[in-house]
């Protein structure tokens, strides 16, 4: 289980997280929704140990990770797969080498690595792109290679930062199915950050909404759809009118 306790984070003058509390159960898929720039990715990066909080604690199965040394944190991070918003593929490596990167650290033999790479690329609909460099791939293809890289070494937890952004609707649904499949077959715990509500409803066991640096609601997709919280209502209906105000110039 992952437990986030009273997490605070400030970047210069920007107070991003103002006391986030969240429990993520083993084997569930939880989706964090919220407006652009509200701190969803920042929260995700804290959970993986890529950022240190100003205040607060994060427990993974009773281990408090914010106080771990660099080496201990490195070992702990091997339990995680992470799909980055901008894919973050290594430019100097081919798609196949990108997917194989984490496997080399897990001491798999070359034959198994080759098979794993081929299988993972196949799962995301990209069989045969092993030798292509990221610069020659489209945005959607990069995202799928990054997803293949994140799932290649069978992590216990997978963090998805905008997994379906930039994909066509059919491929987006295929990725949703893949996330569901991973949860059902491998019992992977998934933490998803997305704006894509249809995806969130489909893949999530629970949905949390982050607003003003705090989790303001947490519930099943059905509970979220029926919520009486005005902020959540406005967000899921996508209306400009409501308690969430955008700083826009009049047009």
């Amino acid at each position: 289980m992952i437990k986030v306790e009273d997490l605070h984070k400030t970047f210069a003058e920007n107070y991003v997280l103002r006391g986030v509390n969240l429990e993520i159960r083993d084997g569930e898929t939880i989706t964090i929704i919220g407006g652009s720039g509200c701190g969803k990715t920042v929260l995700l990066k804290h959970i993986v140990g890529l950022l240190k909080p100003d205040k607060g604690k994060i427990y993974i199965n009773s281990t408090e990770i914010t106080s771990l040394t660099e080496h201990e944190l490195g070992e702990y991070q091997k339990k995680f797969g992470y799909l980055f918003q901008g894919s973050a593929l290594f430019d100097s490596l081919t798609a196949g080498e990108n997917v194989a990167f984490g496997l080399h650290n897990m001491n798999f033999n070359e034959k198994l690595i080759k098979k794993k790479v081929s299988d993972c690329l196949g799962h995301v609909g990209l069989s045969g792109v092993e030798d292509i460099k990221p610069a020659e791939l489209s945005g959607g293809m990069k995202k799928r290679v990054a997803l293949a890289r994140a799932i290649a070494y069978d992590p216990e937890y997978i963090c998805y930062d905008e997994p379906t952004t930039g994909l066509d609707p059919i491929m987006a649904d295929a990725i949703n199915e893949l996330i569901i499949h991973l949860q059902k077959t491998l019992k992977v715990t998934s933490i998803v950050v997305t704006h894509d509500l249809s995806s969130a409803y489909k893949i999530s066991n629970r949905i949390a909404m982050l607003y003003d640096g705090k989790i303001i609601t947490l519930g099943s997709p059905e509970e979220i759809k029926k919520t009486s919280n005005e902020y959540v209502k406005q967000f899921i209906t996508g209306s400009i009118n409501g308690p969430i105000k955008l700083k826009l110039k009049e047009f």
């Binding site: 890529l50 091997k78 797969g81 901008g86 973050a88 290594f90 990167f101 650290n105 897990m106």
Partner: protein, 259 residues
């Protein structure tokens, strides 16, 4: 004004402490297995072999101009080109060779290191390395540090030979110094310590280039503009540090009796 100076001073101390930390971590991970031999060989080739043509060209040119200037000055003062080989050899081996090779490598390699690591930083590739169980310092800084510390002294040694050869050509064919006299001037006063003097300095310059270039890359933020800023800052900082440290290194080495 006082606030501006204190900010600059704080930034200098902050950068210095981060540089020392990076040096400590680089040395720590350098000896921690597994050693990424393939990555180190790639960097040796990139830093050494690919820097050779431009280093050779500039060294040859500097050797020639040094011989021409010292020869023509000697002719105007003493009516004959005395000790041109000695002046060229000492200037090159102890001073210009290490500095020139370091400046060329800073422009060609240091800037590329900062731009590459900086781009990786702003596109989250450094974060991706961490999530894949790879320490970015071990994967990125260590191979570059090792390669620079090996290749810059080698480039300096080759640069010394080429510069002296350039000086020899001008001395013999332009200033009409007999070749035997030119070689005697070059070698008679030169000790092995003089050679070490330059090579030790080039090792220090290599460490400065590696640490500053990697540090500026790792600290980079703010997209493409940030990468550009970091690269400029990296090159300027390295050049200033090389030229300033050159005096102190020379003073220390001379005091120790090395050259």
């Amino acid at each position: 004004m006082i606030k501006y100076i204190s900010n600059k001073f704080y930034n200098f101390l902050d950068g210095l402490s981060k540089g020392v930390t990076l040096l400590y971590q680089t040395l720590l991970y350098m000896f921690k297995p597994p050693i990424d031999v393939k990555n180190i060989i790639d960097q040796l080739f990139e830093i050494g072999a690919r820097s050779f043509p431009v280093t050779a060209l500039t060294s040859f040119s500097v050797g020639m101009v040094l011989a021409l200037q010292s020869g023509s000055s000697a002719i105007s003062v003493l009516n004959e080109p005395l000790y041109v080989g000695t002046i060229v050899a000492f200037s090159i081996v102890k001073e210009l060779g290490p500095v020139l090779a370091a400046v060329v490598v800073t422009g060609r390699v240091g800037a590329a290191i900062t731009a590459e690591i900086g781009t990786m930083k702003v596109t989250e590739q450094i974060d991706a390395l961490r999530t894949l169980g790879t320490n970015p310092i071990k994967y990125l800084a260590v191979p570059r540090f090792i390669s620079l510390v090996i290749m810059l002294p080698l480039l300096t040694a080759v640069s010394n030979v080429i510069s002296i050869l350039g000086g020899f050509i001008v001395g013999v064919y332009k200033l009409d110094i007999p070749s035997t006299i030119y070689w005697a001037d070059t070698l008679d006063f030169m000790d092995i310590e003089d050679l070490f003097h330059g090579l030790i300095k080039s090792v220090c310059f290599a460490m400065i280039i590696a640490l500053v270039s990697c540090h500026k890359g790792f600290e980079c933020h703010g997209g493409a503009e940030g990468v550009g800023r970091a690269t400029t800052s990296s090159v300027v900082t390295v050049l200033v540090l090389i030229l300033v440290s050159d005096y102190f290194l020379s003073a220390i080495l001379v005091a120790m009796g090395i050259g």
